[in-house]
């Protein structure tokens, strides 16, 4: 799961001409003390459920808005949409691995020095940096006993695909 998350995070931002690189955590506790916008999206599949979390500084959201052609940055809207695109890409990857999931809509909060209260060992932050900004992602996944992969006959449509019926 962590490998997929790392790959889709790198792919998503590269697609918007925002190359990112893995970096160390901003603080020992994970997120730094600055203002973060944190978006979470729950997902559920056959025998698996969890949540994707994307945390971004204001500078990150402003850079993403500019890259998307936007002028005014609505922090909640931008981070919510990028978390949605991130989990959408992840959904495609997981489908290829035989793990179909359904997504909820993003829930987004803003605050100084945000902390996340999670059970230890469930998942860990992955941090990435662009020029002058950084972001954190994590993917919690809980597999039920008896979980099995499900083979899919058709490959999912990929980011950027346009299909006319």
């Amino acid at each position: 799961m962590d490998r997929h998350l790392m790959l889709v995070t790198t792919e998503l931002f590269a697609a918007d001409d925002l190359p990112v690189e893995r970096c160390s955590p901003p603080s020992e506790a994970g997120l730094g003390k600055e203002t973060y916008c944190m978006s979470s999206i729950g997902y559920v599949g056959n025998g698996v459920k969890g949540v994707l979390i994307l945390a971004a500084t204001r500078a990150a959201a402003e850079a993403w808005t500019r890259a998307a052609g936007g002028l005014e940055c609505d922090l909640v809207d931008t981070v919510g949409e990028f978390s949605n695109m991130l989990l959408g890409r992840l959904k495609g990857r997981l489908l290829k691995e035989g793990i179909p999931i359904s997504l909820a809509t993003p829930l987004t909060v803003i605050g100084d020095g945000l902390r996340l209260s999670v059970a230890p060992g469930v998942s860990s932050w992955q941090f990435f940096e662009g020029p002058g900004w950084h972001l954190g992602t994590r993917l919690d996944a809980a597999f039920e006993a008896g979980f099995q992969r499900k083979e899919t006959a058709t490959a999912p449509a990929e980011a950027g695909d346009a299909i006319l019926f």
């Binding site: 052609g69 959408g88 997504l103 695909d161 346009a162 299909i163």
Partner: protein, 123 residues
Amino acid sequence: MTARVMVIDDSMLVRRQVSAALKTPGYLVTEAIDGVDALEKLAGLTDTKLIVCDVNMPRMNGIELLEKLSAQGSAVPVVMLTTEGQPELIQRARSLGAKGWIVKPFKPEFLVATAAKLAPLGA
């Protein structure tokens, strides 16, 4: 001559991206934030020639909106613009009458080409 396109997405960022892409060649764009808002606006905008619609939205999602439009006998072509790429979901939208499926992040030229095919300017 222009043509009206309704863009339905709960993200302002996406609505603005789509609007900018479609306004450049001359489309008239109306925005809606979800399926409920879209149905209300469509009732008063009978000149709408194309709908560009997200799937995952609060209150009424894109698939539920397709069901409503299908039940109403709407002839306005709908293109889904979403992060989703699951084949079953694409097939479901197609069976409900959707005319296309674009996976975000999208290329503006693909969206404009799709609009030109389904709702040509000057027609």
